[in-house]
């Protein structure tokens, strides 16, 4: 069950909106503060990338951010509406720095194709709950 879903207009200013919401959800899920810092940056990277992809493709549809907390892991999916087959992208990866940070900060990163675009799924394990 998603803990929260955000539909963001592909506006650069909304990268910050996404960070604020996801950080609040990560704290609520019980992630350690050092992990929360990683979540902030990794999700910021993923949303920035999505927004830049939308800009390059002149796509005004929303970027979808879905936060899931199943008690074992905290998962954030950032889905854009730009198909992988569309025209070559300009440097949305900031010379490789964006992907380098994503893979260093999130224990698990998966890129999947959705019917309408590309989704990045970032996963952090949650601390075991004490009984």
């Amino acid at each position: 069950v998603p803990a929260a879903t955000l539909s963001l207009p592909p506006d650069r200013a909304h990268a910050r909106t996404a960070r604020l919401v996801v950080v609040a959800a990560a704290r609520r899920a019980g992630l350690a503060e050092s992990d929360v810092d990683d979540v902030r940056l990794a999700v910021g990277e993923a949303v920035a990338r999505a927004v830049l992809r939308h800009e390059a493709a002149d796509q005004s549809a929303a970027v979808e951010v879905t936060i899931t907390d199943d008690g074992h892991s905290f998962r954030v999916m950032v889905a854009d509406q730009v198909s992988a087959a569309s025209a070559p992208q300009p440097d949305v990866d900031q010379g490789g720095f964006a992907l380098a940070l994503l893979s260093a900060l999130a224990p698990q990163v998966a890129e999947t194709q959705t019917p309408t675009g590309t989704a990045l799924v970032l996963t952090w394990p949650l601390p075991a709950m004490s009984i």
């Binding site: 650069r12 200013a13 990268a15 910050r16 960070r19 810092d37 902030r40 940056l41 910021g44 990277e45 920035a48 927004v51 830049l52 990866d93 900031q94 010379g95 720095f97 964006a98 380098a100 940070l101 260093a104 900060l105």
Partner: protein, 112 residues
Amino acid sequence: VDLSISSSEQAGRHVVAVSGEVDVHTAAQLGTAMDTVIDAGALHLVVDLTDTPFLDSTGLSVLVRALNRVRVGGGSVRIVAPADRIAKVFRLTGLDTTMPLYADLTAAVAVD
């Protein structure tokens, strides 16, 4: 009204102090400020990120572009990043080897 950027000269180095979150929305503003000081002839830059709570890859790109510009003339870029959250971004991308990190401004302008 997203970033507040000020520049000054200390011990022969040009200090660019950044206050605010550097991200996909604001990085261009930092880029313009860096271009302005470099266009004015600054060669040895110190970017003070003490009051920067967030910096992402778009911010890194802007700093790398500035480094590449000043390097042509034998210049340098030093980074003041007391917060681990910011220093980490440089370490994880290996950029701390080309833009050395300092814990405070005094140290960054003092070392030769």
